[in-house]
C-alpha cells in the first residue's frame, strides 16, 4: 500500500513539474530559513548553560533608586561577595568577584610585544569552582590562588607566546605587576555573556591598590556571582537581602539600595542593566525572529495547500476511482498526507543545501559559529524531522480532507466543478499570505525609519568629526594638560578634551547631597568626569551661567555643570536659580557654575535625564577618570589629524599600540541589535514575498489554464488582449487589496508597540503603508498579467479545437 502511495505521489510530483517545483522551492526556502532562525535562537538560548552548575549561579544586582534617578548596576561593591557568603553559609556554596578596574583596555606586554588587552579580568580563586572552563594545562583549583597568577586562553597564548610553552611565562600588566601563567584553557565558548582572554588572580589587585582590596560600600565595580547550594531557591536569600543591606551598607544610602539575584542563564537575553560586562541581546528580538520563521513556513505551506486544492480536479478522478474500488476515506487522507510529507522531505533535503550555502554569510552577519554539523545532534535532528513532518502535515491536511471528501458518483460524472468548492478558502489563504507579506514590509520600513531617525536624531551634542582615543593609565593621561595644549597648536584640531566614559554610550553615577536635602540624604546622579573644553568640543550650549574656565582656579575643585533636566529634578525652578547652588560630596562642596541644555547620555531607548558634568584635577582623579581623549577635528581633516595623533602617541607611549574610534561609530553600536534585526527581517521579508509570489504565480498559471476556453470564446467575440489581462488579474488585485486592508491596522499596532521601546521614536509614516501595498500590488499585477498576456496570445481556434 505504501509502495502504491509512493508511486502515485512520485508520478504526480513529476506530472505537475512546475507546481511541484514551486512547492519545493517555497517549502525549502521556508524550511531553510526556519532552521537557520531556529539554530540562531537555540544558540542564543544556550548562553552560559555550558557551565555545569549554571542553574545555580546567580549574579548579584544592585538597584540604586533616588527618586527615580540612580542606577541598576550589574556590578556590586567589593565587600558584597564574601559578606554574603558569611551571612548565608547554609545557602551559598561559593562566591566570586570579577573586576577590570573599570577600564576598557589595559596594557599587557611580553618581551617586546605589547597589546591593548580588552579582555583581561581579575577574579577570585573561586572562579573556576563556579564556572566551568576546559583546562588544557594547570589546576583549576589552585590556578588563581597566588598573587601574580594568570590563566590564559589558547588564542591569547598564541598571541603572546606563539608556539612557545605558555605555562610559567611572565606577562607584564600595565607596567606595574607581573603575571605568571598558571593555567591554559580552551577559548571561552562564544555562548558566554562575557568573553575573556586572560583572568588574573584577585590577590594581584592588592599589589596595585597598596595592600588591600577596596572596602568601600559605595564604589561598585565587581561583577559578583554566587553559587547556591543544591536545592536552594534564590528567594530564600532574596527575602532576607533587605536585612543584609541594612546591616552592611552606609546609613545614608541603605534606604535607596536593594539587591537581587539574577539567574546566570537569564543574563544574555534578559539583562539590560548599567555596567554590563558586554552588551546583551534582547529576548524580544528572538520573539520577532521566531514569528518571522513561523510565517515563512506558513506561507510556504499555504502555497502547497493552494496549489494542491487548485489542481485537485486533476486528481479527483483518481480519488473517485479509488473510492469506487473500495478505498476508505481515511486511506485517501493518508495517501495525500503522505504525499505532502514526501514533498516536504524533498524540500528539507534541498533546504539543507540552501542552509549550507547561506551559513557562511549568516555566521558572518550574526557573529556566530553555527555549523550544519550541529544538526547531527539527535535533538536537532529530531527537531528537523519533526518540523519537516509537521510542515508536510500542515500543508497536506487541508488538501487531504478536501480531496478525500469528493463523492465518487459526482467525480465520475465529472461533476466536480473545477476546484470551485475550495475557491473561497483558497482566496482566504492568498489574502493571508499577502497580508503577512505586506505587514512585514511595512514593519521593515518602519524599523529602518526608526533606525535612521535615531542615527540622525539630535542627541543634544555633536557626534561627527570627533575621534575618541582610549588613554586610561597612559603617560598621555598623566600629563593630559600639556598634551592637550600641544595638540591644540595643530590648526586641523578644533578642540581637545577628555572624559571617563564615552558620552552618549555610558556614564557613571556620582554621589551628592543637594543643598537643602536632609543631612543623611545622599543621592547618586548620572555624571561624567570631564576636562576643559568639553562643552566646546561637543557643541553643548550653556543656558545659564558659564562653562569651566581655566581663568577660575577653583573650577576643578568646586565647579559643577548640570543640565536642565537636573534643575527640574532637584526642584530648582529655573536654570538661573540653580546657579551657585551647592551639591555636597564627601570630598567637599561643589557649586553649580553653569546649566546646559539637555543631552542624551545613553541610548535613545531612554529619555534624556538629569545629568552632571564634573571636573577633577588631582592626580588620583586623573589616574582613574581620564579614560578617553576626545579630539574634534576640522571637517575633512580626519586623516591628517589621525596621522598626527599617532605620531604624538608614539612619542609618549612608545610601542604601546595606538587605538582610536569615531564617536559616530561608537554610538551606532548602541543600535546594532536593532540594525541587525532590521536587516535580518528585511532579508526574510524579501524571502516571504518571494515565496508568496511563487504561490501566486502557480495559482495564476493554473487559472490561466482553467480559463483558456473562456478566453478563446471571448477572443472570438472580439475581446482585446488588454481586456483579457484586466479580466484575469482583477480577481487577484481584489485579494491583494483586501490583504492590504487587513495588514495595515495589524502592522500599525505591532510597530507602534515596538516603537514604545524607544524614548525617541519616529512618527509612523503613512508612505510606508502605501509603498508596501504598492510593492505587493505591483508584484501581484506583474505576475498575473504576464500569465494573462500569454494566455491571451494563443490562437482562439486552437483553444476551442483542443477543448
Amino acid at each position: 500500500m505504501i509502495g502504491n502511495y509512493f508511486k502515485t505521489a512520485l508520478r504526480n510530483i513529476l506530472k505537475h513539474k512546475s507546481y511541484s517545483l514551486i512547492n519545493i522551492i517555497g517549502l525549502s526556502i521556508g524550511i531553510a530559513c526556519f532552521v537557520l532562525i531556529g539554530l540562531y535562537i537555540a544558540d542564543e538560548m544556550s548562553y552560559d548553560r555550558y557551565h555545569e552548575k549554571s542553574d545555580r549561579i546567580y549574579r548579584v544586582v544592585n538597584v540604586y533608586d533616588f527618586d527615580g534617578v540612580g542606577e541598576n548596576s550589574a556590578s556590586a561593591p567589593f565587600p558584597v561577595a564574601f559578606t554574603l557568603k558569611n551571612e548565608y553559609p547554609g545557602l551559598i556554596k561559593n562566591v566570586v568577584r570579577i573586576f577590570d578596574f573599570q577600564v576598557s583596555r589595559s596594557l599587557v606586554e611580553y618581551k617586546d610585544k605589547s597589546f591593548n588587552e580588552k579582555n583581561l579580568f581579575f577574579a577570585d580563586s573561586t572562579f573556576f569552582d563556579i564556572f566551568d572552563y576546559k583546562f588544557v594545562k594547570g589546576d583549576p583549583e589552585t590556578a588563581l590562588q597566588e598573587a601574580n597568577s594568570v590563566v590564559i586562553t589558547e588564542t591569547a597564548a598564541r598571541k603572546y607566546f606563539g608556539d612557545e610553552e605558555p605555562m610559567g611565562k611572565v606577562l607584564r600588566y600595565d607596567d606595574r605587576v607581573n603575571l605568571k601563567v598558571t593555567g591554559l584553557i580552551r577559548d571561552v565558548p562564544l555562548q558566554s555573556h562575557f568573553q575573556f582572554s586572560l583572568v588574573a588572580s584577585m590577590s594581584t589587585v592588592r599589589q596595585i591598590t597598596r595592600g588591600q582590596l577596596p572596602r568601600t560600600w559605595v564604589w561598585n565595580p565587581c561583577w559578583t556571582y554566587v553559587l547556591l547550594k543544591e536545592g536552594v531557591v534564590p528567594e530564600e536569600i532574596e527575602k532576607d537581602l533587605p536585612n543584609y543591606v541594612n546591616k552592611f551598607f552606609y546609613d545614608a544610602e541603605k534606604e535607596n539600595i536593594s539587591l537581587y539575584l539574577q539567574p546566570l542563564e537569564d543574563i544574555h537575553l534578559k539583562s539590560k542593566l548599567d555596567y554590563e560586562i558586554e552588551p546583551n541581546n534582547d529576548i524580544g528580538n528572538l520573539y520577532i525572529l521566531a514569528v518571522i520563521a513561523f510565517f515563512l513556513l506558513v506561507i510556504a505551506a499555504i502555497n502547497f495547500m493552494n496549489l494542491a486544492t487548485a489542481t485537485s480536479t486533476g486528481r479527483s478522478k483518481e480519488i473517485g476511482i479509488k473510492k469506487v474500488v473500495g478505498a476508505y476515506r481515511k486511506q485517501i487522507i493518508r495517501q495525500f498526507l503522505g504525499e505532502s510529507i514526501l514533498m516536504s522531505f524533498f524540500a528539507m533535503i534541498v533546504a539543507l543545501f540552501l542552509i549550507e550555502l547561506a551559513l557562511p554569510a549568516f555566521n558572518d552577519f550574526t557573529g556566530k559559529e553555527i555549523s550544519l554539523s550541529l544538526l547531527v545532534h539527535p535533538v536537532y535532528m529530531g527537531a528537523l524531522l519533526l518540523i519537516t513532518l509537521l510542515t508536510g502535515f500542515l500543508s497536506g491536511v487541508y488538501p487531504a480532507f478536501y480531496l478525500s471528501s469528493f463523492k465518487p458518483v459526482q467525480v465520475l460524472k465529472g461533476k466536480v466543478s473545477k476546484g470551485a468548492k475550495s475557491g473561497k478558502s483558497r482566496k482566504v489563504l492568498v489574502v493571508m499570505q499577502f497580508a503577512i507579506s505586506i505587514a512585514l514590509i511595512i514593519s521593515t520600513f518602519i524599523a529602518y525609519d526608526q533606525i535612521s531617525y535615531i542615527r540622525n536624531a539630535d542627541l543634544g551634542f555633536k557626534n561627527d568629526d570627533i575621534i575618541i582615543v582610549p588613554i586610561n593609565r597612559t603617560n598621555i593621561a598623566e600629563g593630559f594638560k600639556e598634551f592637550k595644549n600641544e595638540l591644540q597648536n595643530n590648526p586641523d584640531i578644533y578642540s581637545v578634551t577628555a572624559m571617563d566614559d564615552i558620552l552618549g554610550k555610558a556614564h557613571n553615577t556620582h554621589e551628592f547631597r543637594p543643598e537643602g536635602y536632609p543631612e543623611d540624604k545622599w543621592n547618586f546622579y548620572p555624571a561624567l568626569v570631564v576636562h576643559y573644553d568639553f562643552l566646546k568640543t561637543f557643541d553643548i550650549k550653556v543656558i545659564a551661567g558659564r562653562d569651566y574656565s581655566e581663568l577660575h582656579k577653583t573650577d576643578p575643585m568646586k565647579g559643577l555643570l548640570i543640565n536642565e533636566a537636573m534643575v527640574r529634578h532637584l526642584g530648582w525652578e529655573c536654570p538661573e536659580k540653580a546657579l551657585g547652588k551647592k551639591l555636597i560630596t564627601i570630598r567637599g562642596d561643589e557649586r553649580v557654575i553653569g546649566v546646559t541644555e539637555n543631552f542624551n547620555v545613553t541610548s535613545l531607548h531612554q529619555p534624556a535625564g538629569p545629568f552632571a558634568l564634573n571636573m577633577k584635577e588631582e592626580d588620583w582623579s586623573i589616574h582613574w577618570f581620564t579614560n578617553f581623549m576626545v579630539v574634534r577635528h576640522i571637517p575633512g581633516k580626519e586623516k591628517e589629524v589621525l596621522a598626527y595623533l599617532e605620531k604624538k602617541w608614539k612619542e609618549r607611549e612608545g610601542e604601546r599600540p595606538f587605538e582610536y574610534s569615531f564617536l559616530e561609530d561608537e554610538l551606532s553600536q548602541l543600535y546594532e541589535g536593532e540594525e541587525k534585526l532590521g536587516s535580518l527581517s528585511l532579508i526574510f521579508a524579501v524571502l516571504i514575498i518571494f515565496i508568496a509570489s511563487l504561490g501566486l504565480f502557480g495559482l495564476a498559471s493554473f487559472m490561466a489554464e482553467q480559463r483558456t476556453k473562456e478566453i478563446g470564446i471571448r477572443k472570438v467575440l472580439g475581446a482585446q488582449t488588454l481586456s483579457i489581462i484586466k479580466l484575469m488579474s482583477f480577481d487577484f488585485m481584489k485579494l491583494v487589496l483586501i490583504a492590504t486592508l487587513i495588514s495595515w491596522p495589524l502592522s500599525y499596532i505591532f510597530m507602534d508597540n515596538w516603537l514604545e521601546n524607544f524614548a525617541y521614536r519616529t512618527q509612523i509614516n503613512l508612505p510606508a503603508f502605501v509603498l508596501a501595498a504598492l510593492i505587493a500590488l505591483t508584484i501581484a499585477m506583474s505576475i498575473t498579467s504576464v500569465k494573462a498576456y500569454f494566455a491571451s496570445q494563443t490562437d482562439p481556434v486552437d483553444i476551442l479545437k483542443y477543448e
Partner: protein, 227 residues
C-alpha cells in the same frame, strides 16, 4: 442478491429539485444478467450507483445480500462494496498515473491482499482479458478497447459477486464492444451476477432480462429466455 422497495432519489440543487428515481422496486437474483435501458436522463446511472453502494437513496429500502443498506454510512458501504461489487464504466475510469498492472491491483490493495497473492491474481485476470502483454503500459498508451478490458479486469480481480456496468460499450466501436460483451457473458456463465446499463439493443440481447426505465420509474420488466 438485490432487492429494492420503492427506491427514490431526489437531487436538490439551489433551486431545482430533480426526482431521478421514483419508487423503483426491483429484484435481481444471484447469477442473473440484467440490462437496464431507457432514454438519457431517466435515472439509469443513478439507479446503478445506488445499487453499487456508491450513493444512498433518498427514500425506500435497498437489500443487498440480505443487508438493508439504504442508510449505511460511507464507510460501511465502502466495506461491503469492495468485497462484493466490481464496476465497469462507459469512460473506463482508469487512473492515468498508474500502469495497467497497478490499476488492476488497486482493489486488492484496498482489500488488504498481500503482494505475492496480488501479483498472481492480477496476472491471472490480465491473462483472462488478454492484456498481459500491456501490463507495464499506462492507460493513455492504450486504445479504448484495451482500456475497457483493463477496466473489466479491475472489476473482476477481487472476484466480486456482482458486476455493475454503466454503458460499457458506449465509447467503443462495435467490434471492440462485442469483445467486452462476450467477456461479460462468459463471466455470467461462471455465476457472476451482472447488471448493465445500455442504450444498445444488441448489447441487451446478452442479458436475460431487460428493465426499462422512464422518468425515474420502471415501465416494463421484460423477461427473456437465456441465449
Amino acid at each position: 442478491m438485490i432487492k429494492t422497495a420503492e427506491l427514490t432519489k431526489v437531487f436538490r440543487t439551489d433551486e431545482v429539485e430533480t426526482t431521478a428515481l421514483n419508487k423503483v422496486s426491483l429484484q435481481v437474483d444471484s447469477g442473473e444478467f440484467v440490462a437496464i435501458m431507457g432514454p438519457s436522463g431517466c435515472g439509469k446511472s443513478t439507479l446503478l450507483n445506488i445499487l453499487g453502494l456508491l450513493d444512498n437513496p433518498s427514500k425506500g429500502k435497498y437489500y443487498f445480500l440480505e443487508h438493508e443498506v439504504s442508510d449505511y454510512s460511507e464507510k460501511q458501504r465502502a466495506r461491503l462494496r469492495k468485497q462484493n461489487i466490481g464496476f465497469v464504466f462507459q469512460n473506463f475510469n482508469l487512473i492515468d498515473e498508474l500502469s495497467v498492472f497497478e490499476n488492476v491491483e488497486l482493489p486488492l490493495i484496498y482489500l488488504g491482499v498481500n503482494s505475492t497473492d496480488r501479483k498472481s491474481r492480477v496476472e491471472e485476470v490480465l491473462e483472462k482479458v488478454k492484456i498481459s502483454h500491456r501490463k507495464k503500459h499506462f492507460p493513455l498508451q492504450l486504445s479504448g478497447g484495451q482500456q475497457q478490458r483493463v477496466a473489466v479486469a479491475r472489476a473482476l480481480v477481487a472476484k466480486p459477486h456482482l458486476i455493475l456496468a454503466d454503458e460499457p460499450t458506449g465509447n467503443l466501436d462495435s467490434s471492440h464492444g462485442e469483445e467486452i460483451m462476450k467477456m461479460l457473458e462468459e463471466l455470467n456463465g461462471t455465476g457472476t451476477t451482472i447488471v448493465m446499463v445500455t442504450h444498445s439493443l444488441r448489447d441487451a440481447e446478452y442479458a436475460q432480462r431487460i428493465v426499462r426505465l422512464f422518468d425515474g420509474q420502471v415501465v416494463t420488466e421484460n423477461i427473456k429466455a437465456p441465449v
